[in-house]
Amino acid sequence: MDGLILQILNGLDKGSAYALIALGLTLIFGTLGVVNFAHGALFMIGAFCAVTISKILNISYEVIDPNQTDFLGNPLKVKTPYVESWFGPEMGASIIDWSVPLAILLTIPVMMLIGLIMERGLIKHFYNREHADQILVTFGLAIVLQEIIKYYFGANPIQTPPPEALQGVANVGAAIGMDLPYPIWRIVYFCFSLGIIGAVFAFLQFTTFGMVVRAGMADRETVGLLGINIDRRFTIMFAIAAAVAGLAGVMYAPINPPNYHMGMDFLVLSFVVVVVGGMGSLPGAVLAGFMLGILESFASTTWATTTLPGINQIIIYLVAIIVLLTRPRGLMGRKGVMEE
């Protein structure tokens, strides 16, 4: 029983990342009808926002301290981050320590800006072209974004530790009398992603803006005829989707040290998630994201890999193939959206 729950928990963090990326993909597809192959790159840029912030916070100046000497007897150079000299050593150190959560503040405006530029500058011109063209141009864009990141940050993964208070392992099952050790940061990530998903749904459900967007998703033309500038609202939705991908990335940085191709790795799986959940269905994307994450974690248990070797590597694709062939609309796809 403990093992079973542990596997579910293990699947949750990856599942959260899948769900967030798939949610963004679905938002873009549902509103603009564009298949965005550059969404993984947005996830990756989000992760690199965390790296950037921690680099910025660690910018330091060097002082030669005559009181301390290194092992050769020379005076020691002491590096002090500017933050520490501004806010005092303790406050400064804790700001640096909390750089990943702080990066969220940077990520939201940066990602929304990137989203706006992307939509207005490029995607706008592809509304009326074939899906194949959309895939191709965003695929090209993904390569470009990836290479830019590689140019500035190098090809190696960059370690980005979570705040010290959130490192380590907690026993999440203590309250119900079970032994379930689980890394604290992953719990944080899961709660964070639930929060984001909740916020997106609430935004769509309870605001006038969200209502208009939902109406536009159902029937764009009629909403346009009612005198509402639906294009502008869809552009903003694109920016929001980009921000969701970025937020998924920024908090994922401590779990998986960011490297320039992490976006592509996640993109392939997220597309599978979107298709399994049903193209254009937001709850479907979230559900399928968590489901496939948990399924993957179950397939990685020793029991599963000994009975069916390699099942952990192919389970998601296998599920996708079966779902696509038996339920073409996906788990929760609406009727008439991209059927054939």
Partner: protein, 399 residues
């Protein structure tokens, strides 16, 4: 000639001449000169030009004619490579059976994968092929290389070892892939003055195969079957209303292009007898998509051009480093020179993928017909300019 009309015959002859004279054409700079690094006429690179050309021609039969965008074609390339290396390991180093088996195996797999994937179209088809290719990659990389049943040799890649069976291997035959005794590595170097040209047996085998499959692709493009495939691209519903079932045709196109990929994989193994799983990864599938689009989708010569273009830049562009850039811009004043080097630096050397990505986006946005369309437009522009000069101020009649 050969059942082709005048224009196609000309095209075939041009391709034949270009491939046969490639060692000359690709080595325009004397060896040892400063420009020698732009020479692409060494066997390894020439083989890659041709092999990826074959791969892209095959991909174009599927994508260019039917419009089905497969993101998993590299799987067939990998399967072809594995099949060929197994022939080398078990039977003989002769490349003919190896390549034949590579084509057959890739064909079999593409029948299965195609039959399943083609039940859906559009983006679903892309994702299904992607899923199959990633599955094959994962299987080849880890699962099929366990000690009990080692089919792919995992991360190391499948290669031929000294203690392998090689039933039909005889004394006197080269210990490398060969064509009835002619080693694929045997190269004849011709020195004319400062120039040095190398003629490689392996390259010429690939070149002959390229000409054959290029001819085949022309025939497919011009056949009733090719027309049927174009009908699928333009309007599948209308096609089925006229009483034709599109699915067998798409499946046939898929299998043909899968066999082309297998042929390319077999040739790759024949040039260098090893096969690795990374050939099946989806980035490799993405590369052939790039080649085809860049060269010109749905055109005959486009994919070959695109493959040559990408492989040339991958090998030559990536060699340009800062000192070469400084040499280039040496004529500028110092400050400006450094500035130019700074500007160009991210796009060359290790960053050539950035150039490729930007170029690819520009092609998709502005030139959906790829390099071929670009060439045609320039040709038309020159022609029209010439005409305008001849005819002076006469007005063109309305069309």
């Amino acid at each position: 000639m050969l059942g082709l009309n005048n224009k196609d015959t000309k095209l075939l002859i041009v391709v034949a001449v270009l491939t046969l004279l490639a060692p000359f054409i690709l080595n325009p700079f004397p060896a040892g000169s400063a420009m020698a690094q732009f020479n692409a006429g060494y066997p390894d690179l020439m083989q890659r030009f041709v092999i990826f050309g074959i791969f892209a021609i095959g991909f174009n039969i599927l994508f260019g004619l039917t419009g089905y965008l497969s993101f998993g074609h590299a799987a067939f390339l990998g399967i072809g490579s594995y099949a060929a290396v197994w022939i080398f390991k078990l039977f003989t180093y002769n490349v003919v059976p190896a390549i034949a088996l590579a084509v057959i195996m890739a064909g079999l797999f593409s029948v299965i994968i195609g039959y399943v994937s083609l039940r859906r179209s559009g983006i679903y088809f892309s994702i299904l092929t992607l899923a199959f290719a990633q599955m094959s990659f994962a299987l080849a990389y880890s699962v099929l290389s366990n000690p009990k049943f080692n089919l792919t040799n995992g991360e190391t890649g499948l290669q031929v070892y000294a203690d392998d069976l090689q039933m039909f291997h005889r004394e006197g035959l080269p210990d490398l892939p060969h064509l009835f005794g002619l080693s694929m590595r045997s190269t004849y170097n011709l020195d004319i003055g400062a120039w040095s040209f190398s003629f490689n047996a392996g390259y010429y085998l690939c070149a002959v195969v390229l000409m054959l499959v290029f001819y085949l692709s022309i025939r497919i493009f011009r056949s009733p079957f090719g027309l049927m495939l174009r009908a699928i691209k333009s309007n599948q519903t209308r096609m089925s209303y006229t009483g034709l079932n599109p699915r067998p045709h798409t499946l046939a196109a898929f299998v043909i292009s899968g066999m082309y990929a297998g042929l390319a994989g077999g040739l790759m193994a024949a040039m260098d007898p090893l096969a690795g799983a990374e050939r099946m990864q989806w980035t490799a599938s993405g590369e052939v998509v790039l080649m085809t689009i860049l060269g010109g989708t749905g055109t005959l010569i486009g994919p070959v051009l695109g493959a040559g273009f990408i492989k040339y830049f991958e090998n030559i562009f990536s060699k340009i480093n800062d000192s070469i850039l400084h040499e280039w811009f040496a004529f500028l004043p110092d400050g400006l020179e450094n500035f130019m080097v700074f500007i160009v630096h991210p796009f060359v050397g290790k960053g050539w993928h950035l150039t490729l990505g930007i170029l690819f986006m520009l092609v998709v946005i502005f030139l959906p017909g790829g390099l071929v369309e670009g060439g045609q437009r320039i040709g038309k522009w020159i022609k029209n300019r010439g005409k305008a000069k001849d005819s002076g101020a006469t007005t063109e009649p309305a069309e």
